[in-house]
């Protein structure tokens, strides 16, 4: 099992704990993750200003993976959405394909259909499978409970994701949590958006969106929120203090990237999973399972 690892913009500079833990669990599972230096931004950030620029940028990234004969593994939900959407759009539209390729020719690249784009969590669920994950579990996480935040672009628009999960009642991340032995606790507003995409447009609305989820998740006294997208984490973890100050409340809710949780279950140490970079320190949670 081998994929080109698509990091996107946020993870390499603001979510290295996600990257470190994903690489660490991939190693345990024998998933080859190949770094391609030429991968750039996926194209999502320019969609609001020029949708066609997004298509061209995504097509270029797809062409880079195709040239290496590799499918793409993503870690960010927005990258997953844009690359998947573009692959489907271009594969089914010859006129657009020709138009995009005329532009890519300027930089000596060519898009050809056929690259499969998959989020790392989906790879764990579909390609590795729960049974194989369970086989690798060596540390008992039975004392811990988590709530899953899927993030919008992991599930929607559902037409581009072959219904690998149910967008209205998702279960795959909950199953991935349970396979570690930990509990997965449901909560109100599970599908609600983190607000990350409009943080720069209206901070008040975006922070309120994140607050509602923090309220709902902490009501169940779980040990942490589990995310699979760097921007969702920025909303729930990086902005948690800001929300607490603004609304005069306290959460102290750690946010773990799913591979960090899986890595704990695999018996990996705190350092290799990048826990030092978690802004809301998960010390209590780690103490519960005897991790120094």
């Amino acid at each position: 099992m081998k994929y080109a690892l698509f990091l996107g913009c946020t993870i390499p500079v603001r979510g290295q704990n996600y990257e470190m833990s994903a690489r660490a669990v991939a190693k345990v599972l024998d998933i080859g993750l190949v770094d391609l230096d030429d991968f750039s931004c996926c194209g999502f950030p320019v969609k609001a200003t020029d949708r066609h620029d997004t298509t061209v940028m995504a097509a270029r990234n797809l062409a880079i993976a195709a040239a290496e004969g590799l499918d793409i593994a993503t870690l960010c939900n927005a990258c997953t959405g844009v690359l998947t959407e573009t692959e489907k759009e271009l594969a089914g539209n010859e006129a657009l394909r020709n138009e995009v390729n005329a532009e890519l020719k300027k930089i000596g690249r060519e898009y050809k259909p056929g690259v499969k784009v998959k989020h790392f969590s989906r790879i764990l669920y579909e390609d590795v499978g729960l049974d194989k994950l369970k086989d690798k579990v060596t540390r008992d996480l039975g004392a811990l409970s988590f709530s899953a935040h899927y993030g919008c672009h992991y599930l929607r628009p559902k037409e581009i994701y072959e219904c690998f999960d149910d967008a209205e009642n998702p279960h795959t991340l909950d199953e991935l949590i349970r396979v570690t032995g930990a509990k997965s606790v449901d909560y109100m507003g599970k599908l609600d958006c983190c607000g990350g995409a409009i943080l720069g447009v209206d901070e008040g609305i975006a922070l309120r969106m994140a607050k509602n989820k923090l309220d709902s998740v902490t009501a169940n006294k779980v040990d942490a929120l589990v995310t699979i997208c760097p921007f969702c984490t920025i909303m729930y973890e990086d902005n948690q203090k800001k929300i607490e100050a603004k609304y005069e409340c306290y959460y102290g809710l750690p946010t773990l990237y799913y591979p960090q949780l899986l890595g704990l279950a695999f018996g990996l140490d705190r350092k290799s999973l990048g826990f030092r970079l978690n802004k809301v320190k998960p010390d209590d949670l780690l103490a519960k399972i005897g991790v120094e």
Partner: protein
């Protein structure tokens, strides 16, 4: 109050053409979009059903110069639930793209486009970042993607002209 003299009945076709789909004209105003919208529940100034009505009525200037078209969080909930397949998230993108061409770009998105056009990525990567990555055992990331800068230089030119 809507001033009928200011309406542009062609606007909905302009939007449909830009989208490459005529789906917006199918809206029967059921409000499924607004009912499930995570932004609308917090602030009523963003109301997808109302935006569609404004498009269909031809309130071109009001829509394109509005603040609310920038408030869609692109969660795709309305997109997936719409019984008439209006493809709202794509519609909002289309409205934003037309607005940008008419000089109404929101500063947050203008800055994002500038960064991506300058570096090929959303954050400028410094040597410091790569040193930090090295300490964590992570490979360096490229600081500037010249190919992307070249692909997007037409935007930079347009920006300079304006």
């Amino acid at each position: 109050m809507i001033d009928s003299k200011k309406l542009d009945p062609h606007f909905k076709f302009e939007v449909a053409k830009e989208m490459g789909k005529v789906n917006v004209t199918r809206c029967f105003a059921c409000g499924t979009c607004t009912a499930g919208c995570p932004v609308r529940v917090i602030d009523s100034k963003y109301n997808p059903r109302k935006i569609i009505r404004m498009v269909l009525l031809g309130m071109r200037e009001e829509v394109l110069s509005s603040d609310f078209i920038w408030l869609c969080s692109t969660c795709y909930t309305c997109y997936d639930r719409c019984p008439q397949d209006v493809m709202l998230t794509s519609l909002m993108t289309t409205l934003r793209n037309i607005a940008v061409r008419e000089g109404h770009v929101h500063p947050a998105f203008k800055e994002q486009a500038r960064l991506v056009g300058s570096f090929g990525r959303l954050y400028e990567v410094e040597d410091f970042d790569n040193k930090k990555r090295e300490k964590m055992g992570l490979p360096p990331v490229k600081k500037i993607h010249d190919e992307v800068v070249k692909l997007l230089e037409h935007d930079a030119k347009k920006e300079a002209e304006s």
